[in-house]
Amino acid sequence: MFELRLAWRNIWRNKKRTLIAGTAIGIGLAGLIFVDGFMDGMMLNLKESATRTWMGDGQIHAIGYRETLDSKLTIPEAGKWKSRLERMPQVKALSPRIVLSGMANSAYENRPVSLCGVDPQLERDVSEIDENIISGKYLQKDRIGVVIGDILAERLEVGLGDRIVLTVTREKTGELIQELFTVSGLFHTGVREIDRNFVIAPLSKVQSMYGGGEKINEIALQLDPSLSREEIRDFWSSFPREVIDAAGWKDLLPQMRTVMGMKGISMAVMSVVIFGVVLFGIINVMFMSLFERLFEFGVLRALGTTRARIRKLVIMESFCLGSIAVILGSFLAVVLLLIFSWTGIDYRGLDFGGTTFARLLYPAVRLRPFIWYSLGVWVVTGLIGLYPARYAARLNIKDAMKKSL
């Protein structure tokens, strides 16, 4: 305790130097905490953009559908699977879909599209298409209206109330079938792929065009948000792989997994750089302070202070400096995180890792990085203190005190 008091007073002998060093290390720490929060926020944003906009937390398909996108690969016994999923406590909401490749023709243009048949009510609970309607109305059950992305509308040169002809291939005969639909709503999700290609129509209408009865080729799921990682993993692995293809969003977007893996690498590189700065900053300050006080270390040794106590004193000085940096850095990190949590960072429309940012990016504010990176600074400062501590403990007492005894 006495050494701690002495160490604390020693580091404040030169206030300016201590504050400059503490602030420099603190800025590094704040940078680490902020970037960690930013990366976590970015991952969450990408995940939300990917899952909430359309995909859901995961999807059920027939075996082979994801590889080929062959619309003939419909889910076998879809009704049974739907019922089973409805009974599963992990499933918060589900939406059966049929997704077909087709053509959309307006009076002026024609475009290849993905025609998605959905149950309007069930779809509301899985995706955010209804919330992203910017003009007109969302789908009405049993009406022949469709909603399309704003980019597609622009390309087809159509607006609300205009008619478009959708052409798809029938399942059994392979013949082309065309239907006339009215554009009842326009949506803008911010995900270019969806806004440019998607035509969303009532499920029964698309099924009737396809001619396959009530066949569907996709069930999108929203899971209970309170599920842990392990519970989610167990949920997806509970489906028989040889019968059905059940995949969570990480498997549906494998590039996202890579992007998330990059976070760990990025943070590791940043940590090495920042802790390197901490290392040399503290060594520099500690040695400057030590050389100014060689005489005092000699006196302390002469009075009977053992080498171990001298080492302890210097390590505590280093630790105190680290603590000041942690306090300053944490404060700065809180300020930065609060500011950007308030304003958000606008990356909307930017593609990253195969996904488009569809909403403002807010850095994640979590206690964990504060604890871990602060502990890192303390550990590093403690370890770094060993070097000047060893030097101080091994000083020749007589040489250190050569002005006197």
Binding site: V299, L303, G304, K398, S404, L405
Partner: protein
């Protein structure tokens, strides 16, 4: 009386740029408990080197140094530190107080190292502050008091842990004659009251007058040993 210090043919040779300088040449000296002894001699006569060797701050090139009959040349650094802590008090020419510690904390420092409990430390520090006339200044920091007062604190620090020996290197050199005399009186009183042995290295005629033994060094050797 008990032997506090005993040296046997102690030698110290410094080598600098291949030049060998013999600072102490075969000094054999004994200092008994309760002595008030001054090592005197011209600059370069080896007074400070001898004090360094006696205190274990430096190692002899040859010969042996015994503190309370423990051979300082045969023990490790930690044991030497603990011996200094428990048996030797130091008074330096430049006071050498720790500037970030208050007067009270400077005085209690060695007792903290010794593990003396808080109440006893408080009691002993208060008593010694009265003895050295610094009552009321315990919460000041060294830069906030005069040179004479700082040297009083140094004396208090040296004796508060009740060592067997106080080594004082030119303790009055930085003080005016009035302060010097006052401090010398104080050390003499402490010597008589507590029986603590004082060994000075000095040029100061006042100390030479008051010392009950003068060890005169010349060219690293004892030239004379006068007991009064």
């Amino acid at each position: 009386m008990d032997l506090v210090i005993r040296t046997e043919n102690v030698e110290k040779t410094y080598v600098s740029d291949s030049i060998r300088v013999k600072a102490v040449r075969g000094v054999s000296l004994t200092v008994r408990s309760g002595e008030f002894t001054a090592l005197v001699g011209p600059s370069g006569s080896g007074k400070t080197t001898l004090l360094n060797l006696i205190s274990g701050l430096d190692s002899p090139t040859a010969g042996k140094v015994f503190l309370k009959e423990v051979d300082l040349t045969q023990i490790d650094d930690r044991t030497r530190s603990l011996l200094r802590r428990d048996h030797i008090g130091f008074i330096f020419q430049a006071y050498n107080l720790i500037p970030v510690l208050t007067v009270y904390e400077n005085i209690e420092y060695v007792m903290l190292l010794q593990g003396v409990d808080k109440e006893e430390r408080l009691e002993r520090v208060k008593a010694i502050l009265c003895d050295v006339g610094l009552d009321g200044l315990e919460n000041r920091y060294p830069p906030q008091i005069s040179g004479g007062q700082q040297q009083r604190v140094a004396i208090a620090r040296a004796v508060v842990s009740r060592p067997d020996l106080v080594l004082a290197d030119e303790p009055t050199a930085n003080l005016d004659s009035r302060n010097g005399k006052s401090l010398l009186d104080m050390m003499h009183d402490l010597n008589r009251k507590t029986g603590i042995t004082f060994l000075f290295s000095t040029h100061d005629p006042m100390i030479m007058e008051r010392a009950n033994r003068l060890v005169i060094l010349k060219d690293g050797m004892i030239d004379d040993d006068i007991v009064r």
